[in-house]
């Protein structure tokens, strides 16, 4: 799925990374705990979260993620936007709640790769 399709399906506004919307991604994960993202995630390209602080961007960068979707009307700060631009990560925001957003993307073919049999929220 192209990142552009994610933004369309979630009625999301792009915050930064417009030039990377044609990147293909295949897997996603969702969590508000960055500790768990670091512990259980492997090879996911998209992070859905309701957490807003610079560590969200850094966590995604450490995991080589391509895109972060902020759910529940959360708005990333200017500092986060700058960090994401430097790291080449697309940021978008949607009014949808986590469960709804995940369900839509899963139904559309985006999968969650699960390591160690543990899944995210």
């Amino acid at each position: 799925m192209k990142i552009r399709e994610i933004s369309e399906k979630l009625c999301a506004d792009i915050v930064c990374g417009e030039d990377q919307l044609d990147c293909e991604v295949f897997t996603a994960c969702s969590s508000d705990m960055m500790s768990d993202v670091l512990a259980f995630v492997k090879d996911q390209a998209v992070l859905l979260t309701g957490l807003v602080n610079p560590q969200v961007i850094r966590t995604a960068e450490m995991m080589d993620m391509r895109c972060i979707v902020f759910v529940r009307k959360k708005v990333p700060t200017e500092e986060m936007k700058c960090l994401a631009e430097e790291a080449g990560i697309v940021l978008m925001k949607t009014q949808m709640r986590m469960f709804e957003a995940c369900g839509i993307l899963y139904e559309a073919g985006l999968k969650g790769h699960v390591e160690d049999g543990v899944c995210d929220a």
Binding site: L38, N53, P54, Q55, T59, M62, M63
Partner: protein, 141 residues
């Protein structure tokens, strides 16, 4: 051999949680410049990031030394924080002494040390209550 070792040193600022991870981002960049494989870089970056977060949360910052030899990447994270009273307990997944405000920032789930061990080939913790903690981790190249 001294000539075969590339060293990076970083001060980890303990005052500002929002800047935590800056050293790990820099290490990632430099390892990429050295042509290290993406999988090794990711393991180093995650372990270092967790260590950096720990130093900020628990120890008011510290120092990080990263050494790259032809065989491995070695990370030495040194702080002068409170030390770890029970290392075995601290290594248990889910055990955390982080305050509630840290959890609200998305950390403090008790996965830091277990995660550092998981992503590295060796990890050694030298700690003393009241003196501080030094963690040495290596990842084979």
């Amino acid at each position: 051999m001294p000539d075969d070792v590339v060293r990076f040193c970083f001060d980890v600022d303990g005052d500002d949680f929002s800047s935590a991870g800056a050293a790990s981002v820099e290490v990632k960049k430099r390892l990429r410049q050295l042509g290290i494989s993406p999988e090794v870089i990711r393991r180093v970056a995650i372990a270092m990031y967790e260590g950096e977060i720990n130093m900020v949360i628990h120890a008011d910052g510290g120092k990080a030394l990263v050494e790259v030899t032809p065989d491995e990447v070695r990370m030495t994270l040194e702080d002068h924080g409170p030390g770890i009273a029970d290392v075995e307990l601290a290594m248990q997944e889910g055990y955390s002494t982080a305050r509630e405000n840290i959890r609200s920032l998305g950390f403090g789930a008790g996965m830091g040390l277990p995660n550092m061990k998981k992503y590295t080939d060796t990890m050694h913790i030298d700690t003393e209550v009241g003196r501080g903690t030094t963690v040495v981790m290596t990842v084979k190249i």
